[in-house]
Assembly symmetry: C2
Homo-oligomer: 444 residues x 2
């Protein structure tokens, strides 16, 4: 069979329509971000089109002085649980920070979602990097970089251990023998590590997928290593064909080097297609959207994200780029360090730096439906991704992609016309992990 492209929908409305000019669009309800019907409608549309998953991003901090407000959002697990009982096939991937949630709570909430959705849960593991978030959890400063990733790896390890608390046949519910639970099939974890100490067992049986699917979005050196160790899906940043192919090859190589099958880590490239009747029209539209969303104050605020939501408005825009290297380093993002280096090398002012790093770059998936389908197919063929993590501005934009682009991919044998399975693992072609205790027993 031709190798197939995976499609995920990054839900829109998530952070509140206030984060860009979209809230002024009369087609978008002002309260879309907290209206569960809005998400259920998106999930149903994506499921009707046979998408692999709905993906919910998250952030735990808002600041009224920060123009692209990440505000007024539903909590991802309650959101996805509501979507679960109005859908049957589409995967449900929620973002949850390993920095401020205990492994026991994370394990049980995702296991619960996996039971409620009957095998469609995925966890997008993130680490929280900003001081604003840490102040909501009793800390003055966020955890440093190495601590955050070491802790994240141990966190996921504990969660997975807890998900194996029960073997698949732990609950015979055998009336004749008077055995509801077979205690020999229940396994406490007794984890004692550098960051966590968790006894277990979990208080919920093994879920339909064995374990929910682990997603991650590592870009830095540590992030890529974490991904190679634990991720089964990756949300990769967009870029040029060259940069995305490099990223793809690097992740697959690191994964294989750890003895894992590189086919069991699927890379979803972030993509925001802009589709119109002609290529020229699509490019005009794309530029128009960019300009509407990117007046200078918004650019300045968005720019600050690479420095841990640093507020650059306190500096003179026309003075040399300020000394924020420490913020860049602490943020744990490679982008900040790159910006600092270039600003110094080129002797740029703050304004020049902001403009250089927030210049208009159209999505490679801009054009008429055929151009978009062609580009998707050629990038996929060139090894830039296994799937796309698609973002749209409105429901109409999603509908247009579904109506006009998906059939082209299907006609070329690049996208499914029916779901292969009722579980996310089944549809992604990922194996169900055997319970570690059952495996240990089999090896004995």
């Amino acid at each position: 069979m031709t190798r197939q492209i995976r499609l995920a929908l990054r839900a829109y409305g998530v952070g509140g329509p206030g984060q860009h000019s979209l809230w002024k669009d009369p087609r978008v309800p002002k309260n879309a971000s907290i209206d569960i019907d809005w998400y259920i409608a998106q999930a149903k549309a994506a499921e009707h089109a046979k998408f692999d998953a709905l993906f919910i991003v998250d952030s735990q901090f808002i600041d009224a002085t920060y123009p692209p407000h990440y505000l007024n959002r539903l909590e991802p697990l309650t959101l996805l649980s509501a979507v679960a009982v109005h859908t049957r096939h589409i995967g449900l991937v929620g973002t949850l920070s390993s920095t401020y949630n205990s492994p026991f709570n994370v394990a049980r909430r995702f296991a619960s979602l996996d039971h409620i959705s009957r095998g469609r849960a995925g966890w997008n593991v993130v680490t929280s990097f900003d001081t604003g978030t840490s102040r909501n959890y009793g800390l003055d400063e966020h955890l440093d970089y190495a601590t955050r990733y070491g802790r994240a790896l141990e966190h996921v390890t504990v969660v997975r251990g807890l998900w194996d608390s029960y073997e698949d046949d732990a609950f015979p519910a055998d009336v004749a023998r008077d055995v509801f639970l077979d205690p020999a099939k229940l396994h406490p974890l007794h984890h004692e590590g550098e960051h966590f100490k968790v006894a277990g067992p979990l208080n919920i049986s093994r879920s339909p997928q064995g374990q929910p699917v682990i997603f991650q979005a590592g870009v830095s050196e540590e992030g890529r290593n974490l991904a190679a160790h634990v991720a089964e899906g990756i949300y990769a940043p967009g870029g040029t064909l060259e940069s995305t192919r490099d990223y793809y090859a690097d992740i697959k190589r690191r994964t294989a080097a750890l003895g894992r099958d590189p086919d069991h880590i699927l890379i979803f490239l972030g993509a925001q297609p802009v589709i119109a009747g002609t290529d020229a029209e699509a490019h005009r539209l794309s530029r128009e959207i960019f300009d509407a969303d990117n007046d200078f104050p918004r650019k300045l605020a968005a720019f600050g994200r690479a420095f841990g939501a640093y507020d650059f408005s306190q500096h003179d825009l026309d003075a040399p780029f300020p000394d924020v290297a420490a913020h860049a380093e602490r943020s744990g993002r490679t982008r900040g360090t790159e910006i600092v280096r270039r600003a110094r090398e080129d002797g740029l002012t703050l304004r020049e730096t902001v403009l250089a790093f927030t210049e208009y770059r159209p999505s490679p998936f801009t054009g008429d439906p055929r151009t978009v389908a062609d580009t998707i197919e050629s990038w996929f063929g060139a090894g830039a991704f296994d799937g796309l993590n698609l973002g749209f501005r409105t429901h109409e934009d999603l509908d247009r992609f579904i109506a006009d682009v998906v059939p082209l991919l299907q006609a070329r044998g690049r996208f499914r016309t029916e779901y292969e399975s009722d579980t996310l693992r089944g549809n992604l072609g990922l194996p169900v992990p055997q319970n570690r205790w059952t495996r240990a027993e089999a090896l004995r």
Copy 2:
């Protein structure tokens, strides 16, 4: 209008049917506790009958050696979120421990449920008292008694503060003025207390009820004080008419002494009605159920709960009652201390003590439908409760109560025939708390 009785349904199946003999009943699915359809069906039945709320208990610890296993349960918030989108009127009250969940996460998860349910969320605040649970959260021993309650009070205070992060009109979304969020209506919390330090604001707008409804279940001195300070609903333990009236009067008195309106704290008495064609038949059935669920090992294990899930099977049953006073005290439950005192005074063996404290006591709500309705009405009239928190063994038992008892209460004007409101506050007759910042502004 005649004062009305409130009815809540304590969902069954919650802890797994393995916790008593029920799993052998062919009418009960073996996986009922993790089957979301089972809960949705209960909620719909209770909503059809105009019940005030569905109530989900929780525990975060299981032990395979502990016969009445509290095992294999869905996490309450994911469960209720799924129920929310298949119901329209019934309140949704979930249990969440203040001991092992940060205030920021609790606040946003319940605010999210309140948005998803469009105003029907309630939080049953519990403190976790057993060593088994603490070991799932990185601690060797649970927090001591005073710390737990002091921390709980501060926790709820912080959560409520976060729920007031936005005034009701904080999001004008005014296109003409280009104002999505009015920053003057957003209020960080800047809380710095003994146990928590939380900056805020929350990342979700004020929810339809203003604040989700706070429930509690305090029995000890500290528990009753916590309830009087923060609770709007109380889950009270069953007992004799005298003991329940005393409890009721005590809570109302404490609440009034704090300057709160005692009508704004509703006491729900735990009740497990047993209904049959005749009183005699109901009492026979009640005894039969008790005997099936209470062989001696189960009694012994259940008995250990009053001592923080202490395992009494390690002691000689026929030796004098062991020295477990420290466990009783640490558990934070008054019952353990009472047991220790009586065992000493009467010079009882362990076996005699267990039997004395686990003797058969039929529910006062046992009988034919008229007897049960009469008893409910007379206890209500005598000031034993504002509402009942009803538990049933099977869906048939719930159906029978709805078909045969509810109409009698309605005919006597003691229970609603239509919902008064779409929100839990509205149906319970509880006021919507005014946002503290709006109030402060009005007073200025």
